[in-house]
Amino acid sequence: MTDETSKKPNSGVNRRAVLAGGTALTASLFLPKQLKAAEYPTAEINTTGLAVTDDTVTIGILHSITGTMAISETGSVQAEKLAIEQINAQGGILGRKIEYIQEDGGSDWPTFAEKAKKLLVNDKVASVMGCWTSASRKAVLPVFEQYNGFLYYPTFYEGLEQSPNVIYTGQEATQQIIAGLDWVAKEKGAKSFYLLGSDYIWPRTSNKIARKHIENYLDGAKVVGEEYYPLGHTQFNSVINKIRLKKPDVIYAIVVGGSNVAFYKQLKAAGIDMTKESPLVLTISVTEDEIRGIGGENIEGAYACMKYFQSLTNDNNEAFVKSFKEMWGDDMVIGDVTQAAYLGPWLWKAAVEKAGSFDVDKVRAATPGIELTSAPEGYVKVHDNHHLWSKTRVGLAKADGQYDVVFETADLVEPDPFPEGYQ
């Protein structure tokens, strides 16, 4: 980050100024030149009939804004809209303003497939920012592959997938898990782990990787229990009793959704004070968004391992948080996935400009190696396997609902969606 940009005024700015500030910030780090539409005739940069005109390009936003997932996905929609607005304020992509068509997946996987098809077949969108749950991604995947669409998927997920038609802007499981386990073993001397999760593919795969890592790579460490509960489960007393009996050093929790609220409250009610770190609670599923539901006082003292926390102190992030709050309100919080969603439009812009074309095949070819120095999480780079190189961080939950970053990997962690030795 350069000094000029960090000195921009911080008080009394309106939304336009903030957007312009963000623009200056990113422009100074991206391609500084302004790309003129006239230099890129539509016929040349769009040979496959996508929704590109002489001054606009249309993309799709496909998230749940109704149903049970709306609470999680709304942040992603907001981040994507912010990125689009900032890119437009900066002159768009190849001189074209981004327009978007938003569709509602309705927390329903067949609807996601239907809407994805509509966006690709009827609207001919140039790319799609969307999906959140693995189930919705699995539902739209055949559609994107059949019609050669291009999806930016923001959520940290279980890996075991590498589609030519998807860019995974969140972390895959090994990126997120291994650094955290190494940290807790080294810094906290943890030897025994109790694995816990909601019962679906992501927690199960993640815990499988965690177990292999604990048993094979952490000296003398062992797993003393592994349990799963149905989505929406709210009675954790029996497992809390087992935990008290087994006395593990670490509770490794991958509980999601409404279950989170019950789990942490019951843990606290059972007299397990997380701030005493005995046992220590390490989670990979609680972002700042979830803490809003759980309540900061109920999870204070737990550790979370992911790639982004709102409290990161760097100029990119401070500008991002500020713009986000300007656009969507001061009471917003930004979690890991929201930040990853924000990267989607920027990564696509960089790839399109590198390719000099909106054609999906050319954008795909240009995508590996794309770098983003302006990402709120810091520098990221796209790997050949369509995932991002990114740092992994450990945060300590505070009562105010934010995390203190207590550890960050020295280098970028390589994405490895099909990890050898962890299958």
Partner: protein
């Protein structure tokens, strides 16, 4: 009995109009994408027709039809998934040759009960047989004990919840929340292409008419009249010496079989099956299709499924933030203004005028006929 005893004249017209809509009008005005969507809506019609028989005619309100729709769909999906999971396609897995979700869940061999689904014949048989057997068990357990009305509705709803939890919980065997996805070919025929979608649409239409004829046959038969008698005065039918429970079981199984066929066609046209189609919410939605169409009418049920789903798609495309309110408003409006749904509008408002215009015999008005209104 005359040769055309299966239909009254106006029913014949109704069937002909629906055939024109499905086989001529929709394919002519819609592109492949929209046609495929309407194909998907039509799969719900199978369920709605079954409900029109069970609920409209027989008075058995089932809030668990999604279970049968889902079972039929899963049977089809299992066959297609096995065909898609060739060792070559799944070479990247720890155990090639089994469906991908099994590999993710550390299964190393295909469960025994998946084995028969390598055969299309078995899968097609199972599409109907599994829902019917399931319905038979529920039916015997409930109707023989004379459980009916609200209690029956609640119990069917519980079954919908149980099956959803079972599917999600046993994800190594069922694909869990994600469902069974990425289905590609049927005996080597790629079901994802536009041509395949069109062919499947017509197959779907033909099956729909087969089901409609079966339903019509039941309604016009003695069984159909007994069902209505049971709905209105169950005890009198019982005292007349009829075995009420057997009739109820039969009609419930028939509805389940229809729903199973619909589920299988859904899987083929949409390309996956997931527990979201099995649970309580879709089951209730299916009842709504039937209610909007007019629960007394089998043709109304088809139009109801089409209209509600079309409205759902259109509202949600135009107003992604508000569409649920629009849909809710539609339901309230229909139920408040037209308790007998679309079919009621037709019978009460449109048909008499048409008949008058054509100078035919006066419109039917006797109460007996109103309870089984013709379309």
């Amino acid at each position: 009995m005359k040769a055309n005893a299966l239909f009254t004249r106006s029913e014949m017209i109704g069937f002909a109009i629906l055939a024109c809509v499905i086989f001529l009008l929709l394919p002519a005005v819609l592109d492949t994408f929209r046609l495929n969507l309407f194909g998907k809506y039509l799969t719900y019609s199978f369920v709605a027709i079954g409900l029109a028989l069970c609920w409209g005619a027989g008075g058995i309100l089932s809030l668990g039809q999604g279970v049968f729709f889902g079972l039929g769909g899963y049977c089809m999906a299992m066959f297609l998934k096995l065909e898609a999971s060739t060792p070559e396609n799944t070479a990247i897995q720890s155990t090639p040759g089994i469906p991908d979700f099994m590999d993710w869940n550390q299964l190393t061999a295909l469960p025994w009960w998946w084995e028969p689904f390598h055969s299309l014949t078995f899968a097609l048989f199972a599409v109907v047989a599994v829902p019917v057997v399931f319905a038979f068990i529920i039916g015997v357990a409930m109707f023989r004990r004379r459980v009916g009305g609200v209690y029956f509705a609640i119990i069917t709803q519980a079954f919908a919840a149980i099956l959803t939890i079972l599917i999600i919980g046993q994800q190594g065997f069922t694909g869990g929340v994600n469902g069974i996805t990425d289905l590609r070919t049927l005996l080597g025929w790629d079901i994802r292409t536009d041509e395949a979608k069109e062919t499947l649409y017509y197959v779907n239409g033909i099956l729909l008419f087969a089901v409609l004829f079966a339903a019509q046959f039941v309604r016009r038969s003695k069984l159909g009249r007994l069902l209505i008698a049971m709905r209105d005065q169950e005890d009198r039918v019982r005292f007349s010496g009829y075995d009420v429970a057997s009739f109820k079981i039969f009609i419930f199984c028939l509805g389940a079989g229809f729903a199973g066929i619909g589920g299988a066609m859904f899987t083929l046209q949409v390309g996956f099956m997931s527990p979201t189609l099995v649970g309580i919410v879709p089951s209730i939605e299916m009842v709504i299709f039937c209610a909007v169409g007019g629960r007394l009418s089998i043709l109304g049920a088809v139009y109801g499924a089409l209209l509600v789903n079309w409205a759902k798609t259109t509202f949600s495309e135009s107003f992604p933030e508000l569409w649920l309110f629009g849909l809710g408003g539609l339901f309230i409006a229909v139920v408040m203004a037209f308790p007998n749904g679309l079919a009621g509008i037709w019978v009460e408002k449109i048909e008499p005028r048409l008949l008058k215009a054509f100078k035919k015999s006066p419109a039917p008005a006797s109460p007996a006929q109103q309870s089984t209104p013709a379309e």
